[in-house]
């Protein structure tokens, strides 16, 4: 019934592991043709949990939205592929895409109050999603929705089912969002700044919940956040984005302890941490001078070069491609073999 037409041959990656989602050379541009992201490529394995970090304006959210074909009207995909089990989502007709969105690939957003519809009950919004994708009668749907609310740790789920979003706290709203996004047990969940607006204790609860859901259902998680300190615990790989490009892709612990791109290292050095006598008067955080270039005003060569403390003349010469750094990792830096960058000390 849900046979999605295979539009092209199998993915080009060697098939030792079959990624559930494979993004290749994704380029996003404005309608006016100004490039927003370029050459964004990454794979998500089943059950894998990937962090995407970078400052505001680096293209993280646009990438997440493009995967689901949800780019706002001002932006458009200018090239590349988003393969879900081999099918290029970018070429699928809307009807086929609708069978995947919300059911097999799902997304949660930063502000649950604006993502939830204020005039419908939580239960109605949950069952709407469920019944859009599955043939279930109203009574069974209600029971499954209540189970879903229970599974995301909402107390008194039967009562909450009939409540409206304004009756829930911020943390509970985010749980309700997660229940809606995961009620069809998707294979991929994209979480865009899903914990940013929450308090640390609530943040920890939500991260634990997402990690648990990912483990239980082998759900791949793409966790987008500008805050490097947060949600590290739930993930195993780190993608660093800068100015519309992926500049580092590495196993999480490697990226944190031995970052290979100066931008990743710069973000790590900027985190105020409670160890290492950080309260002493002499201790200073390292900030990255300057700011992210605007789309349309990208530097010629390495896009990070104007802010990089390790810059050399050749960095300005031309675009830098992602270079392998071993162990399945890569960094977009000409000097990967020369730099010994500091990560977070254990």
């Amino acid at each position: 019934m849900d046979a999605v037409k295979v539009t092209e041959a199998a993915p080009c990656q060697p098939a030792e592991r079959a990624p559930v989602l494979s993004v290749r050379g994704l380029a996003i541009a404005t309608r006016g043709g100004v490039q927003v992201t370029r050459d964004v490529s990454f794979d998500l394995q089943p059950g894998e949990r990937v962090r995407v970090v970078g400052e505001s304006g680096c293209g993280k959210t646009a990438t997440g939205l493009a995967v689901l074909g949800l780019l706002p009207s001002g932006l458009t995909v200018a090239g590349g592929e988003v393969r879900f089990h081999g099918d290029n989502l970018l070429n699928l007709p809307e009807a086929a895409l609708n069978r995947i969105r919300g059911r097999r690939v799902s997304m949660i957003f930063q502000e649950p109050m604006s993502a939830l519809d204020p005039v419908f009950t939580i239960g109605r919004q949950l069952s709407e999603t469920l019944r859009a994708h599955h043939r279930v009668g109203p009574r069974e749907a209600k029971e499954r929705c209540i189970d879903a609310l229970d599974a995301v740790g909402i107390p008194l789920p039967r009562q909450r089912y009939d409540e409206y979003p304004f009756q829930l706290s911020g943390g509970m709203r985010q749980r309700a969002m997660i229940a809606i996004a995961t009620i069809c047990q998707p294979e991929v969940l994209i979480a865009d700044e899903a914990t940013t607006a929450l308090d640390v204790t609530i943040q920890a609860q939500i991260i634990e919940l997402l990690g648990r859901l990912s483990e239980q259902h082998r759900m791949a998680l793409l966790f987008i956040s500008h805050d490097l300190g947060a949600v590290a615990s739930a993930c195993n790989r780190l993608l660093t984005m800068y100015a519309g490009e992926i500049v580092e892709d590495a196993p999480l612990d490697d990226a944190l302890l031995r970052p290979r791109h100066p931008y990743t290292a710069g973000l790590l050095a900027a985190i105020p941490r409670r160890q290492q006598g950080s309260g002493q008067a002499g201790h200073r955080l390292l900030s990255i001078a300057g700011r992210v270039p605007r789309p349309g005003a990208m530097p010629e060569g390495c896009r990070f070069a104007p802010r990089c403390v390790h810059v050399q003349p050749r960095c300005h010469e031309g675009p830098v491609s992602l270079l392998a750094t071993g162990r399945g990792a890569a960094a977009r830096c000409l000097r990967i073999d020369q730099l010994a960058l500091g990560g977070v000390a254990a």
């Binding site: 505001s56 008194l156 999480l252 985190i271």
Partner: protein, 347 residues
């Protein structure tokens, strides 16, 4: 009544003394008031930075507004340099405000979009009638240098600035009247990490240059640890632990502080492995705070006594005060054991 924090005698007189402070917001006929701040006492000593951490709804921002005299207390007193703020006549109150200035969280909302940067920075000088137009402008330009923006920014409008630059303008404006005390309410919460680092460094520099005493309010433990010399932990309108930075951050005694530290995101792989499940539940409503200890509904250590009796302040280490019946167990290294199931979980 929440007991007041015993104030130890100090060698120097405090710049700010807050005594049994309560702020209750009226919620209309027959409704119980919202107890935003409910019994807070502390001293702010010259030169120190007191970091206040807590979750949303703990009353941090209301506390900040009281200290800068933007909010009337319902009970208790706020002393500024030995003067009871409640007794000040309007003119004396205006002068008193020179001593305490505030920087808010949202750098955009805090700046009038129709005013140029130099006028924004000089506005407190006009209100306080310090100098004339020319000297006020000079002062604004000098302050722009001090916050590392430079004179080029004087003629710009807020919309021409980035978030970090706007927050620097807010800081410059707060410093214009040369306050002794600066209150910072979540001043870096809206900024990207790399920008945040620059602002925090600037704070440390300015503290030294201006000899500032600071009340630094934030929900971010890393930020608190970076800027504070003393730390107060706030929960549902009250302080639960106050102590030196190293004491509270490295050797916390209150179960809430310990849970906060465990929940705080840590990039270090080893530190990420959590010993316990995260703190369960959410902060209760300040309209009907729990009896006894306010944290007991989420506390993994709660016993019957915690519901019956408001915990008294105890100084368990020199300078480290804590309001918890079982805090002394932490001195012996007792773990923060999680209860089997949170009380509010599924029926």
């Amino acid at each position: 009544m929440t007991p007041a924090l015993a104030t130890t005698p100090h060698a120097t007189a405090p710049l700010v003394r807050v005594e049994s402070l309560a702020v209750h917001f009226d919620r209309g006929r027959g409704q119980p008031p919202l107890r935003a701040v409910d019994g807070v006492s502390f001293d702010l000593l010259p030169g120190e930075t007191l970091g206040v951490i807590g979750e949303s709804g703990s009353g941090k921002s209301t506390l900040a507004r009281v200290v800068v005299l933007l909010q009337q207390p319902s009970q208790g007193r706020v002393w500024l340099a030995g003067q009871d703020s409640a007794t000040l006549a309007p003119e004396a109150l205006r002068l008193a405000r020179r001593q305490v200035q505030i920087v808010f969280q949202d750098p955009r909302a805090a700046l009038n979009p129709r005013m140029r940067v130099h006028r924004l920075i000089a506005e407190p000088l006009r209100i306080q009638r310090i100098g004339n137009a020319a000297s006020q402008r000079d002062a604004a330009v000098e302050l722009l240098e001090r916050v590392e923006l430079g004179a080029d920014f004087a003629e710009r409008y807020p919309h021409q600035l980035s978030g970090g630059q706007r927050q620097r303008v807010n800081i410059a404006r707060a410093l214009a009247v040369r306050p002794q005390v600066l209150v910072c309410d979540e001043v870096v919460a809206a900024l990207d990490l790399s920008i945040q680092a620059g602002i925090l460094n600037l704070f440390k520099d300015l503290q030294q240059q201006f000899g500032l005493t600071t009340l630094f309010i934030t929900h971010d433990l890393g930020v608190t640890a970076y800027v504070s010399s003393r730390v107060a932990v706030m929960y549902l309108g009250t302080f639960v632990e106050v102590g030196g930075r190293d004491q509270v951050i490295d050797a916390p005694l209150h179960p809430y502080t310990r849970a906060l530290l465990e929940a705080a995101p840590e990039p270090v792989p080893a530190a990420r492995r959590r010993a316990h499940a995260p703190l369960q539940g959410e902060i209760p409503s300040p309209v009907a705070p729990p009896s006894g200890c306010r944290f007991r509904t989420r506390c993994p250590l709660a016993v019957d006594r915690c519901a019956a009796e408001v915990p008294a302040w105890r100084e368990l280490r020199p300078g480290q005060h804590v309001a918890c019946h079982r805090a002394h167990e932490a001195l012996d290294g007792a773990p923060l054991a999680q209860r089997a199931a949170p009380p509010s979980a599924s029926p």
